[in-house]
Amino acid sequence: MNYKQPYYGKWGGCYIPEILHETFQELSQAFISARNDPLFWTEFQELMSTYSCRPTPLTYADNLSRHFGGAEIFIKREDLNHTGAHKANNVMGQGLLVKRMNKKRVIAETGAGQHGVATATMAAKFGLECTIYMGEEDVHRQRPNVFWMQKLGAEVITVSSGSRILKDAINEAFRDWVSNMADTHYVMGTVCGPHPFPAMVAWFQSIIGQETREQFMALKNTLPARVYACVGGGSNATGIFQGFLNEPAVELVGIEAGGRGLNSGAHASRLTGKDGSAGVAQGYKTMFLQDDNGQMKTTHSVAAGLDYVGVSPILTDLWQQGKIRFEAATDREVMEALKLTMTREGLIPALESSHAFVQAFKEVGSMTPEEAVIINMSGRGDKDIFTIADAFADPSWKKFIISKGEEYGA
């Protein structure tokens, strides 16, 4: 990937208001000089290994492998990052850039809240002011993360325009940025948005793929047959896939949110199925879920972090080239896969990550034990406690919340 140019095939670009032109120039300069400075990556790796827990392990899923009786299943453990998801990689990387650009404030959008928590954490660590934009619906379904962002010192602004989810939070963040770009950096949370964001986020997340490849090679002295990653904006997928791009032996599988089903209209599958079409929004060109007038649709997923109308231009290009296979997992399948993973391996993947597990579980049984697959566990499920409790209609949790509510109401 040529990190200096804004297009991946015909996707990407930099569709920004003139007011941000200078800011993007500056950001591109800072990014290019960081990429060209070998010390930067060393500093980044150092930070991630002392402040977070990199390299994160590659865990062999003994029980699940046996359960399906096919390919061996390995799990890349991004859940063990500080703040509980791969989002930390990107955020800490951008934090180092912010220091170089000498800005005093960061803003970010967040869907699942993981990116918001990671950004609030980075801001605390680097002594920056921090404002997080989050859709009203996501504020509700990812409430613990809102609480922690605030406790970490960030201001959390609830966005109630549009569909009140991730894309709307991105719009609000841009609106903040066009007012405050002089001292403010916008920490984009995924491999989307105007250039150089996709290139930059992909670079920071490539640490996942680098590690995974090394770890797998050290174990097996060969490559995995398939690599599975969920795709919201696409950052964890782009991160792990970069370790295996252009390896014909490795099939890369991206899993989008199938919501209530690909034919239900209530999903967030931009590349899988027939609902996506080319468009330009939020500063870049990609496949969007939009109507025939170009108005963005309301998406749906049980996983806030996948509930997004666009997808990384990098992935759209690789999809178009046939280098990544795309699939979708429904909300219901996700809960089943989560249950199985919790009870068989003692791992609690985030609802987002659970999408990747769904597809792997569908496929490994018909592969051979000589083959191996890797699932990217992009984050942990702690944040999803309210959603999971609702999905399982957990009676004792409900009772607890009712009584806690009464205690507070009194």
Binding site: P17, E18, H21, S161, F174, R175, S277, V280, F288, G294
Partner: protein, 258 residues
Amino acid sequence: MGLENYIKKSLKNRGILVMTHIVLGYPSLSANEEIIGEMIAGGVNLIEMQIPFSEPVADGPVIVKANQSAIAKGIRVSSCFDFAARITRKYDIPFLFMTYYNIIFKYGPENFLKKTKGCGIQGLIIPDLPPEEGEDFFAACRSHGIDPIMIFSPTSSLERMKYLSGHGQGFIYCIARRGVTGHQTSFDKEFNTYIQRCREATTLPLAVGFGIKSKEDMAYLKGKADIGVIGTKTIKLVEQKGVQAVSPFMRSLNVLVL
């Protein structure tokens, strides 16, 4: 005769022109029509009509809400064209479309331009299409006889402005300040240097928009710029005082040549 000429000619009778803004379909097309009538009656010189988009990233809360509401009520791009065709036949001041690039991209740029031309629209303002991305499209605009309006901002350098101006036609839309539409703008020394830089960079007329809302603002801008843009202010006015408040307000903005 082209927007540039129209503007220069009109400036003979008026100290600074007024361009107003409406969101098509908000609160409804028929209300739009009434409001436009009031604007014309109030002596407005140009009108930009925004084709709603679900992600109006450069707009502030009032216009965002208007966009959302128009879409929720079912506004379609085709009805915007129909409306424009009728209005441009009815009134002889210039009308422009303002919209975000996806509306054009999805419609098909070539078709969009044909339709735009066909319904008598004279200019296009696209806040999220910089020339780096829009070069071909702006050329197509010009060849269809539609003026692509370039946008200057306080963060644009002189050199950048010259580059932008090279792609534009009709006039330049100068954003008065950082931020989105609908907030207060303070005219200070920094603003004056900015407008001087704009003048230096281009021979096209200058429109100043974002936060312009009173006769005082217009009077201040007179001599510095050629057009003052009234945006959010009209929406608020209609919401608070009704449609019939529009023409008196517009009339009040008239700044004499001397």
